[in-house]
């Protein structure tokens, strides 16, 4: 009886709904359908640009039809991983730059095989390369900088740094000290209230600027020496001091509100907060280059990019490539840039951009990206690198001994690499 009731319920339900799931298969009749997943659900500006590209592409030819499905960013990677496990990935998927090597290694992706003339025209950090092959390419990149008010720096007699002559660490320490003395309880917002991959994205460039790194990039087989060597220890000692001295804290809120409210004098944040800051602070806003910790300033590079899944059929892969080629037109890249306030990946789109063009108010970000951006380590082990880095940095921020915390991170990263047979390296 129990089994009968279960069966009855199951049969009744299996018939109740089945969404149209064409995957990436050709249906014999009309155009070949190609399903495309974005992480942009809940982002009307970005979706509107995608809609425009897809409509234009579908109208431009009759062979392929792009079908768009949107996921919220926070649950996107889980959805992709689950679909990969079920072997139900669509043809076109977007992905955050540092995740790409892991997905390529796991067999989710096939090489992109777009014309070199196209990928060469993009910002280096907008192209995802793994083991010598291009697996992903993006329409734009993001960049970090230090936000400040010109009036505040001038009032405190602090030199305004330039791209050519950024602040040295000694200058920066002196500046933050002066700002604290001037009345800012916490003069610097480093964004330490945030969590997840932000920690690696935001603070590993500082470590690289100091001469360390998250992993030894020469072979991607160990973090020994890179993450726990003298340069790394020196940088993280400074990082700990910044919180101990009360220059920065981890109280939040996440975002740039404390700077907008003039509760902090300096804010280490991204281009995505620039428009709001510009609206609120106006011409007093300064977008400063990052601090030179000794080896030249660095910022993180590599944002959302497009790839083609490994399981995509031959005809669909061909269509997916044609769509991607079509979509990398400057006019679309400029539309993304002006809608999302992100740095266009091509020189042509940058020149046409309202914000990042020659006279754009946020032009500085394009310069910072071109001069200082460094992609995160292109290794399949990056998820573990990132979480280990975050844990160590948070422990250090909260007062842990620097060297043992870094040694623990190195051990976690190296163990992961070892247990995955070096990820093929």
């Amino acid at each position: 009886m129990v089994a009968a009731a279960s069966l009855l319920g199951t049969v009744a339900l299996t018939g109740c709904a089945k969404a149209s799931h064409d995957g990436a298969s050709a249906d014999g009749g009309g155009p070949t359908k190609i399903t495309m997943w974005t992480h942009s659900a809940g982002n009307p500006g970005e979706l509107a640009v995608y809609r425009r590209i897809i409509d234009d592409f579908n109208a431009s030819q009759g062979e392929y039809q792009i079908v768009q499905q949107n996921f919220p960013q926070g649950s996107y990677n889980d959805a992709v991983t689950a679909a990969a496990a079920a072997r139900k990935l669509p043809c076109l998927i977007d992905m955050d730059g540092p995740v790409m090597p892991n997905w390529a290694w796991a067999g989710y992706l096939q090489p992109l095989d777009l014309p070199a003339s196209l990928t060469d025209s993009l910002l280096p950090t907008a192209v995802g390369t793994y083991r010598g092959k291009v697996y992903s390419a993006g329409y734009w990149d993001a960049a970090l900088s230090l936000f400040a008010r010109r009036s505040v720096l001038e009032k405190n007699g602090i030199r305004i740094p330039t791209v050519e002559q950024p602040w040295t660490l000694a200058e920066f320490d002196a500046a933050v000290g002066k700002l604290k003395d001037s009345g800012y309880k916490t003069p610097l917002d480093l964004g330490a209230a945030d969590k997840g991959e932000w920690w690696s994205y935001a603070y590993s460039p500082m470590l690289q600027s100091a001469g360390g790194d998250e992993i030894d990039r020469s072979g991607m087989r160990t973090a020994q020496g890179a993450l726990n060597g003298p340069a790394a220890v020196a940088f993280f000692s400074w990082f700990q001091k910044a919180f101990k001295e009360g220059w920065a804290n981890s109280d939040g809120p996440v975002g740039n509100q404390n700077f907008v409210d003039d509760k902090v004098a300096l804010s280490y944040t991204g281009v995505w907060n620039a428009k709001d800051a510009l609206d609120k602070v106006g011409s007093d806003l300064l977008i400063l280059p990052p601090v030179d910790f000794g080896k030249g300033p660095r910022i993180g590079g590599g944002s959302w990019q497009w790839g083609i899944s490994a399981g995509c059929g031959k005809a669909q892969s061909e269509g997916a490539r044609k769509y991607l080629e079509f979509s990398f037109q400057d006019k679309y890249l400029t539309a993304f840039s002006d809608s999302q306030v992100v740095i266009p990946a091509t020189a042509g789109a940058t020149a046409a951009s309202k914000y990042f063009g020659p006279d754009g108010a946020l032009r500085q970000f394009a310069v910072l990206s071109q001069k200082f951006a460094l992609a995160r380590p292109a290794t399949p082990g990056y998820p573990v690198v990132s979480t280990s880095f975050e844990k160590a940095a948070k422990d250090i921020m909260n007062g842990a001994d620097v060297k043992p915390a870094l040694d623990a991170a190195v051990q976690a990263i190296d163990s992961d690499i070892k247990s995955n047979n070096g990820y093929g390296n």
């Binding site: 129990v2 018939g15 659900a41 919220p72 889980d78 689950a82 975002g255």
Partner: protein
């Protein structure tokens, strides 16, 4: 003499009454304090849903966070509808939750009945296996389960024709069926049914009743608290489902409310909209709780179980 003997007693009673009143006043004070304490998150949520992000974040450090002051409007509620198909998500969650609870009550009570009242070979082993599954967290089986449901056969209607296919992903059924049979619910029913005297079964069998009649006519009517408890304990996790629909539902039209929460977490979370959305999706749960508050408390007390 009698009057003098009565007078102190009257005075004593008065002071006892005063003491009792004072104790009651203190207990009310403590209870009101606790109520306010537990209401804080809800008040914060509703009040914050009326504020723009900048003000919400500025107010957060003080009492203003709990007061509808400053730039108050319903703008965030309008913005929620622009960003998320909230009506559709609510309907999806309602449908999935009602189906899980309804089917779960039938299937699990029948299973509990079979385990507690019927005598059959292997009953003890099956009971042990059912209880053993309680220690396996869902997260550990989620990925294999996705693979499994992606290859299950399915029969569905397409353009008026019945189509036979494989793969349960992207539908309501995949959100409902895996959660209908529930080991904890079976255990609860089984425990509760075993407290009902078996002499009732014997009497019914003498009168010619079969097992299904005994289940339907005798056991179910006597097990109201067990059904109420299971319904409530199943309702909340079903309404709050997040991980599973994230993994198996790709079509936006089929997503439940909790997945919708992620729509607001872009580079900078839209906190005012988050609060407006959570207010909207919390409301049905609050209404259900307030409507069935008495049953909820009594069923929890009767079964000795809390969620």
């Amino acid at each position: 003499m009698a009057e003098t003997a009565r007078a102190p007693r009257a005075r004593t009673e008065t002071s006892e009454q005063q003491l009792r009143r004072r104790r009651r006043a203190w207990s009310y004070l403590v209870l009101v304090g606790l109520s306010v304490f537990f209401l804080f998150p809800l008040v914060f949520m509703f009040v914050s849903s009326l504020k723009p992000d900048g003000q919400l974040l500025s107010d957060i450090g003080g009492w203003r966070a709990f007061l509808p002051v400053g730039d108050i409007s319903l703008h965030n509620y309008g913005a929620v509808f622009d960003r998320v198909p909230v009506g559709r998500f609510l309907l999806n969650s309602l449908f999935v939750t009602v189906a899980i609870v309804g089917l779960g009550l039938v299937v699990n009570s029948m299973a509990g009945f079979a385990l507690s009242r019927m005598r059959w070979r292997g009953r003890g082993l099956v009971t042990s296996v059912v209880i053993a599954t309680l220690i396996v967290p869902f997260e550990t089986i989620a990925v294999p389960l996705v693979y499994w449901v992606a290859h299950l056969p399915i029969l569905f209607l397409q353009d008026g024709t019945l189509v036979w296919d494989t793969g349960w992903l992207d539908g309501y059924q995949v959100q409902i069926v895996p959660f209908v049979a529930n080991a904890f619910s079976i255990f609860l029913f089984s425990q509760y049914f075993s407290t009902i005297p078996t002499s009732l079964d014997e009497a019914a069998r003498i009168d010619g009743a079969g097992w299904f009649t005994i289940y339907r006519r005798i056991v179910v009517p006597l097990s109201g608290p067990a059904f109420a408890t299971v319904a409530i304990l199943t309702f909340l996790p079903a309404w709050n489902q997040y991980l599973w629909p994230t993994m198996v539902v790709q079509d936006e039209k089929l997503r439940p409310v909790m997945v919708g929460m992620q729509y607001f977490f872009q580079d900078n979370p839209a906190w005012g909209e988050v609060m407006a959305y959570t207010s909207m999706i919390t409301l049905p749960v609050l209404v259900v709780f307030l409507a069935f508050q008495r049953s909820f408390v009594s069923s929890v007390a009767a079964s000795g179980v809390k969620g």
